[in-house]
Point group: C5
């Protein structure tokens, strides 16, 4: 089976045709992990086929199923069929370039969110799509790559810290979202720091490479904005929804995430205006340097051109030039030149040119 | 009959006077194709007169009538009369510069949309107006030119793929719209690619021709925006309408198109800010080059002007110039000049001028 | 009676004091034309006093009274009194600088609109205020100057073309508005053409006079925007009003005008961004030319300054300069100069300076 | 008693502490004028203590009390107590830097408005705070300084012109507001004229002092905007209020003021974009001049530098320079120089440099 | 216990984990002050443990508890538990970088606000987070640092001035907010003054250090905006809330704060456009100076280059140069040079170059 990656291939496909469009280059089997927990119980296992997980879902315990790898279309289709998720939603889950969005029906609440992270190799802010489904007694998470920010939460469940085990799956749902949003704050603040570093470098020496660096960071800023704006909307929709498996108590916690999202949105807006400021600063520094160059050129030219002219006068070969025969001709001319040079010096000082 | 093309001619015409205003230069007969399909039947034919098609419309099968060519005013008038479409709507269908819009009455839903395509000859994003009418058991499409993106859908009906044959005409209506919108994503992403190519060229050598190229692409960006914004509105109106021949099930699919439209709108907005970025980059590169020129001029002038002055001094013809008679005069002056040049070199290095 | 023209004079005047503020320099008598028509009848006459017209208004025919000339305050006051139009509305009708607006009471619908036209003498987009009153069986139009775009409509009534005679006065009201709005499209598109012409001239040779031309056209663009925005509002208010003498059928036609207004508004917005683009283009072209000048200056200076220095060296009068006595001194120096010039040439080529 | 002027002093003061913050330097007694009028009666007097005025307020006549001078805190406190105006509102009345606002309770309608006027001495648009209270049968106006635009209205009452005497106090209230707003139109149009004058000066000679003049006018523009925007809101609130002492008939007149406010707001917005245009024009003119300077420099340098080099060649002292001994050497070199100069001239012409 | 300061550390912490994130470097015990007052009673004390304060809260007197120092997590947790404040709200109270917000439940109204102050050492506008809780008969304030603007209010309670003692705690709540907002006006106006100072310096001599100063002040402006916008929202929410312990009478006073907030927001917006104006002014001044430099360079070069050329001509060593032998050759050439110089002078004057 040919591995479809380009979005272009999707035109006029029948709706609900699952197509992974992300950055993973090879098709891999999905890794499915199931965590079962209750007030006093805890069980964690990695399973082979999705069918094994269903036995685990009972009404007296909470179940968290985590699927890593969106290229395994078949497994995801099977999960979708079992849980009665509409094919169009499954299509959105595996379309890892989808905008954050919330979809609610009577049995499921699906939040498609984005994990932000800074890739040191590519020196770029990147994102991973994470889809979180909340249903009765079960939370299902879909991740693009291995490795995540959810490990802390797993530990808290494992060691019964922070009260997750005492609450329903809606509280787990909240904690997962909260963890995603907490990361936004960190990444946006680090972006601010990188922009401040850039500012110092520009003040030091405005090389053109720094302008390219600014434009590269602008990508991060814009990309960040594109995630943050719909995420704010998603959180606010969760808050306003009347999904039966989301308690009022948990909604109070969701409101706390809303506060964070307002904060992140403002910070993202700030980085945006920092970019504008950096571009202005770059040009100002370049024009300052240009100014310096012009001043040197003008001082040198303006000082020597008249002197050279005078030297030229006395280099003329006219037979009758009385000054040439005078004993004091040479020292007088040299003295005059020195006076002119001093006059220029005073003039430039007055103009504050140096 | 004189062929009216200029919009100007329309002033104070009685309302409902059909006037084609597009790019087709000659009047051609409209080509009418009829596809009849049901769960187990399929029939496709090209007909001469529109009357032939009506026998085909029955309540147990779906009918798709496609009319290509908007210059054949008479045929279109006839179709309008038969189907009881208001003359003002027919006027909009043949006015191929009309804004995308939705018109709903109790029997018809008319969507005037735009197919985006990139013309390789004119190196420009162009559009074709497509009007889609959904009625009971029938879908009628009007196209400006031959050739379209609907071929894939025709094949799927023909070979009974993707479930169109099992659904009503409202699902066909959805698939046609979806195919139009899918194309937007492709075109906008290719526009992004062309802008990125332009960026590389500017960094390489900022010729003024590239500025014109930017402004040309700006046309594409603006044109794209002008189509995408009302299209988003059209899709959203379809979603909110309560047209009796559009089922709730199909509306869920329309919601998927809405997601695409949000995505396209954002991407179009991105190309807009890319244009701004490119203009800034162009000017930055030009001013960088100017800077380089100034530096060369200043280094050369500042180095040689004082030296030339010194040479001028000893070219003066004064009778009493003791240095001229000195044995070491010439080498001493030459040495002094070298020292001055070295001093300049160190000064420029310190200033990071080269 | 002194002819009041300056708006300043209106401060603290009692409300309802009619004051013409437009461009007509002399007071003229108003010209009153009355057209009476029905399905099978047509009558047209120019009358002296407004009283004559009332006999014409009967319930079995439609009457269109057209008044040209807003300086004839007395006649207009008389009309106002007869038709029971509030003095404040009459004040707005003769205030030919009034913003487009709609005023509806139980008996009258008053639309104050603006006819756009391009004055070839003043090379400027200008407007004429037209007030249209719709009442039971009568339409009254007030114009500032003679000559209008309504002639086509008069002909259609006269020769019973386009169905006006078969409809009520509300349809005439629609046709008058439609004719005004159709003209907007023409004028805005011609404005676009003039801006494109300007663009070509700037690319050809960016003279400062062209910058002034841009700013002059900006006046047209802004003026156009100022008319178009409230007009869109007026049309939309007519559409939403529940004025008893405006039928639902005619409202469907008004909706068509609404489409045109959206189109015009967008086009006006486009001309606005064209102006911005032209200003940018002008500066780019100027800076390109500056760049060219700098390159020529630098190439000439950078080539000749070192050569002149060398010539200066051998123009010094030192007694001991062995090169001067050498047989090959002169040709060697000349050859060296040629080599330096060639080196410069290669350097500039590499820098892509010419 | 120390005269408090600085707003700073107001921090943490108990609410309702009256503090004048305007430009009047000395404390003066308030001047109180009372006008009593009815259909056939008219009486006007200046009184010493506010108590005298109350006897005048009767239900069969209208009373207009005008207080000039906001530094007389005591008198104003007394008026407030008598009329049962809330101390916080009195605080706003004497705070002459307050934003225009409307305050309505069951007995009073208080409009805090701003009179705009151009101060010839300070060459600046300034404003005076005017508070107008409408109550049953009485209008009270508070002014900051003597001298106002209400004189015309007083005359119309005195000589029974314009129908004020036949109407209630709400009509007087309308006339006062109308007079304030009429003045806005005049001032904004004069501001436009001053900006146009500035434009001509910049085109003539772009001195830096003109840039400062632009920034000064920008103050006027911004100040104007700050008054006009809340004023529009105030008028619209009056229109929408259901204050019992404001008749529907008068509200129709208020709607006329609303039209004026829309007009003023648009004009103020125009002046804003005129400022932007002027700044652009200034820079364009400066850069045009710079361009001119560069062209002169380049033409002179480029013409003479090569010629001077040639002269330098033949100024060298080599013993063997055959040209020097040739009879035609001198005229040949001079001729060559002339040819080079002509070549340059043709080159520059072709480049359209002069 | 390690002192957590970095926000980063908060990711995936269980909700309600109190973490101080502000600028205080060391952990200090909170200082708790309790003021008890009634119409005729007043008592003020500093207590050690929060439990002591509760005995003071009785229904016949008002209690104001002030806690200074947010690093003392334990004490604050204890207060939270006693007063039944949700842990998430406590988390916000100690998170001293929180956005201003209002939280209302049936027993408490919590306003998180920011005190603005100018730090002379850091030459920067800074803020302190102040949380104010209004409950039945009690107001609790949390401050970050010692020292505040509430001292005036304490004095007014102590000396029974301004009527606080006669009112309930909601009036105290209003007075505290009013005092915070009054300070905004002062700080924003002082910011305006500092920007005006900067303007004068730039006009005097546009050094690059001033550009950095502008960017520093921009921080203040942006920071100010970030506080003022949500504060306006907080005040408006208080106004619209139906919290039972906030009387209608006090709400009328809150409306007065709303007026102030509109004023502050506008002033903050003004400082924003002042920053833009300053940057423009800086560049204008720099380019003006550049212009001056170019003019001097061009005048000197253009004057002397042709003269030097002439001197070069007569410095050539041709044997046959008749002028050299002429008696009047030297004075004629010198005279010619003077004439050329005068011509240049006149040309430059005409061009208004000096
Ligand atoms: Mg599809
Ligand atoms: Mg991705
Ligand atoms: Mg992962
Ligand atoms: Mg959080
Ligand atoms: Mg930072
Ligand atoms: Mg919180
Ligand atoms: Mg028409
Ligand atoms: Mg087309
Ligand atoms: Mg086609
Ligand atoms: Mg699609
Ligand atoms: Mg790309
Ligand atoms: Mg989808
Ligand atoms: Mg008036
Ligand atoms: Mg006019
Ligand atoms: Mg006319
Ligand atoms: Mg039309
Ligand atoms: Mg065109
Ligand atoms: Mg139409
Ligand atoms: Mg106060
Ligand atoms: Mg004032
Ligand atoms: Mg006054
Ligand atoms: Mg008025
Ligand atoms: Mg004017
Ligand atoms: Mg303004
Ligand atoms: Mg009016
Ligand atoms: Mg947390
Ligand atoms: Mg802080
Ligand atoms: Mg404090
Ligand atoms: Mg206050
Ligand atoms: Mg000030
Ligand atoms: Mg107040």
């Amino acid at each position: 089976m040919k591995f479809i990656r380009k979005r272009d291939k999707k035109q006029s496909l029948p709706p609900g045709t699952l197509t992974y469009v992300g950055e993973e280059q090879q098709r891999k089997d999905a890794v499915i992990t199931v965590i079962n927990y209750g007030k006093n119980t805890y069980e964690e296992k990695t399973i082979e086929t999705i069918e094994e997980s269903y036995s685990a879902i009972t009404s007296d315990r909470q179940t968290w199923i985590n699927i890593t790898g969106l290229t395994d279309i078949k497994t995801i289709e099977k999960i979708g069929k079992e849980l009665e998720i509409h094919p169009l939603l499954l299509e959105d889950i595996v379309n890892s370039e989808h905008r954050p969005k919330l979809e609610v029906n009577e049995n499921h609440m699906l939040a498609i969110v984005k994990r932000l992270y800074y890739s040191e190799e590519e020196e770029e802010l990147q994102n991973e799509q994470i889809s979180i489904i909340l249903s009765k007694n079960v939370v299902i998470t879909f991740q693009e790559f291995a490795g995540d920010d959810f490990e802390t939460i797993r530990k808290q469940i494992r060691h019964s810290v922070g009260g997750i085990r005492a609450c329903g799956t809606d509280f787990l749902f909240y904690r997962l979202l909260d963890s995603v949003v907490d990361r936004y704050i960190i990444e946006v603040e680090e972006l601010e720091d990188r922009l401040e570093e850039l500012e110092e470098k520009i003040i030091d020496n405005p090389e053109q490479s720094l302008l390219h660096a600014i434009y590269q960071k602008k990508h991060d800023v814009v990309g960040c904005k594109k995630i943050v704006t719909p995420m704010k909307e998603v959180i606010s929709q969760i808050q306003k929804s009347d999904f039966p498996y989301l308690t009022e108590q948990t909604k109070f916690f969701i409101k706390d995430i809303q506060d964070h999202m307002i904060d992140v949105t403002e910070k993202a807006e700030t980085t945006r205006s920092m970019i504008t400021g950096l571009i202005e600063l770059y040009y100002s520094s370049v024009s300052y340097k240009m100014n310096e160059i012009m001043k040197v050129l003008t001082i040198v030219s303006t000082t020597f051109i008249p002197l050279t002219f005078i030297a030229g006068i006395y280099g003329m070969n006219f037979h009758r030039m009385p000054e040439l025969h005078s004993k004091w001709g040479y020292p007088a001319v040299m003295g005059g030149m020195v006076l002119i040079a001093i006059g220029m010096f005073i003039y430039f000082r007055k103009k504050k040119w140096f």
